[in-house]
């Protein structure tokens, strides 16, 4: 890797989920904002340790579900009441027929909510981005096995190659490495 390439950040490896959790608490206390921990599974309590709140995903999914509901209502009622009412067994077209429309409205609400949930998750998580600077760190891929990684980005205002490296080593980080873009 040529040294002329831009520095993306510093990576450190920790020996367990517990060590990573307490390290994350310390990094948060230091006031860093552009950093993340990379783990093989979601570590319980890490959101609080990193100072992250509840994911906003649910709000978006609510809107998606609402859209599905409205589309469902429009899809079943416009053809049935306006375009071409089909009289089957003399069943009326008024408020009493409402329940007969519920199943399709319900299914469309679920369908739209599910697609919104997955689509928004891809978007929020920046998936479909196949190349990311963190993959340039040769030890990084251990996160899918049993590695507990922390990466602090160079764009963070408090970042400094020497002082951040010392900090990561002090809080128990191993193999502290400079990651290039």
């Amino acid at each position: 890797m040529s040294q002329s390439r831009k520095v993306y950040g510093l990576g450190a490896e920790f020996e367990s989920a517990g060590a990573l959790l307490s390290a994350a608490e310390k990094i948060r206390e230091q006031g860093f904002s552009h950093w993340d921990v990379h783990t093989p599974f979601p570590v319980h309590g890490m959101d609080a340790a990193m100072g992250l709140g509840k994911s906003k995903l649910s709000a978006v999914v609510f809107v998606g579900g609402l859209l599905g509901l409205l589309i469902g209502v429009a899809l079943v009622s416009i053809p049935s009441f306006v375009l071409y009412p089909i009289i089957v067994n003399g069943k009326p077209y008024d408020w009493r027929t409402g329940p007969a429309f519920f199943p399709i409205i319900f299914e469309l609400t679920v369908l739209f909510s599910a697609f919104t949930a997955v689509g928004t998750m891809f978007l929020f998580n920046n998936l479909f981005r196949f190349h990311h600077p963190v993959f340039n760190w040769d030890r990084f891929s251990r996160f899918t096995d049993d590695g507990f990684m922390m990466v602090i980005e160079a764009r963070d205002a408090k970042f400094s190659e020497t002082r951040t490296k010392a900090l990561l080593e002090e809080i128990g980080g191993k193999h502290v490495t400079l990651i290039h873009d």
């Binding site: 367990s16 989920a17 517990g18 060590a19 990573l20 993340d36 921990v37 990379h38 783990t39 093989p40 599974f41 979601p42 570590v43 319980h44 309590g45 890490m46 959101d47 992250l52 509840k54 994911s55 995903l57 649910s58 999914v61 899809l75 053809p79 049935s80 375009l83 071409y84 089909i86 089957v88 027929t97 007969a100 429309f101 199943p103 399709i104 319900f106 299914e107 469309l108 679920v110 369908l111 909510s113 599910a114 697609f115 949930a117 997955v118 998750m121 891809f122 929020f124 998580n125 920046n126 998936l127 981005r129 196949f130 990311h132 963190v134 993959f135 899918t144 096995d145 049993d146 990466v151």
Partner: protein, 470 residues
Amino acid sequence: MSKNALSLETPADLKRPALVSHDRSISWVSHNVCDIVEAPTPKWWWLAMCITSPIALMGLICIIYQISNGVGVWGENHPNGWAWDITNFVFWIGIGHAGTLISAVLFLTRQKWRTSINRAAEAMTLFAVVCAGIFPAIHVGRVWYAWFLAPIPNTNAIWPNFRSPLLWDVFAVSTYFSVSVLFWFVGLIPDLATLRDRSKSKLARTLYGIGALGWRGGNRQWRHYEMAYLLLAGLSTPLVLSVHSIVSFDFATSIMPGWHTTIFPPYFVAGAIFGGFAMVLTIMLPAAKIFPQLNDMITENHVDKMAKIILLTGSIVGYAYLMELFVAWYGANKFESFTFFTARANVNGEGWYQWAYWIMMFCNVISPQIFWFKKMRTNYIVVFIVCQFVNVGMWFERFTIIVTSLAQDFLPSSWGHYAPSTTEILTFVGTFGIFLSLFLLFMRFLPMIAISEVKGVLPEADPHHHHPKH
């Protein structure tokens, strides 16, 4: 407080058994699950594929034969307009429900033991729904008009009847399949990343890498990922209940005796979970035998719990059968009591299909009762045999419901026997070939166990594991 006043330690005999036995490490999980995919293709796999894929091909040939000649090549004829086709459809779609129950309902109820079985059960769901979807699609006769089911007007500007349960079914099953695919894929992303990072060949790395979508396992990603997973579980739970309820509406909203009952939705849902768990065990028990490394993840404890669910849902189904008989007797509707007591149970010797009814009763109500004994629930051979009874019994349940009601309904002059044609039988056998071939492919190329979820339930994964006083 004095030192020995109160101990908060759980006594050893009350401690829960570990979810993964032998105190395995995090790395052990990824190694042993991925090893199944990475090792050279075993001989038994080719042998199994050589058996299942010709069966699948035979099924496809039967489907092509049926499409090119019309539904006349089947045994369905007046008055049995529905018979094996819809029996098979309900049978397969019901099997799918166990996968969703394991992945969604057990997730919401925080049953952590589900992590070892949910991936394979969800795969089973998808393949079962694929098999289920074949039957309603081809039983319409002229498949090229199947687009009439879509919510668009036909050439005469007539829309489908949105108040028909058959149209609800189209929406329910297609939504169910789509949401199950999403749920399954979202669960796979971190595990595909594991396979990506372990793969040695460039092709595998690229393919698994595309599937993993560049997953980086950052906590800022896990946060949204977990929320999406939770929401999908929350959405799938009412969805799975709605799907089989709507399938039961296909019958319950008609006026056929034996179909026209309000007990159908819960009875069908319980039956679906019952039959589905039997199919999960039918697949998982041989898999755990073939891959001994899975035995630490799919433990006796898991089989025991699944057998308990089979016992519970089997008893609910048994209750529904008895309640149907009670209502038929108590309701004083002549046709209803004829269907149940004569056409099905054959108390006076005039019924035609009593054998189907009594096979159903024995397989679904009597056989699972053996699971009251823990020794039986943890004996894999007994569990496997009972699961086969349940698979057979659940198929006969749908056959009984559909055929006995139609063959002997209101007027004796309009009664008619039903017998399946060879094409019909081979089509059904063929769906087993399709199902098993798809499952074999899944076992070969994708992680059978949800790696990241199993890691998450290891004691080592608890951040306070090493510091008990933290």
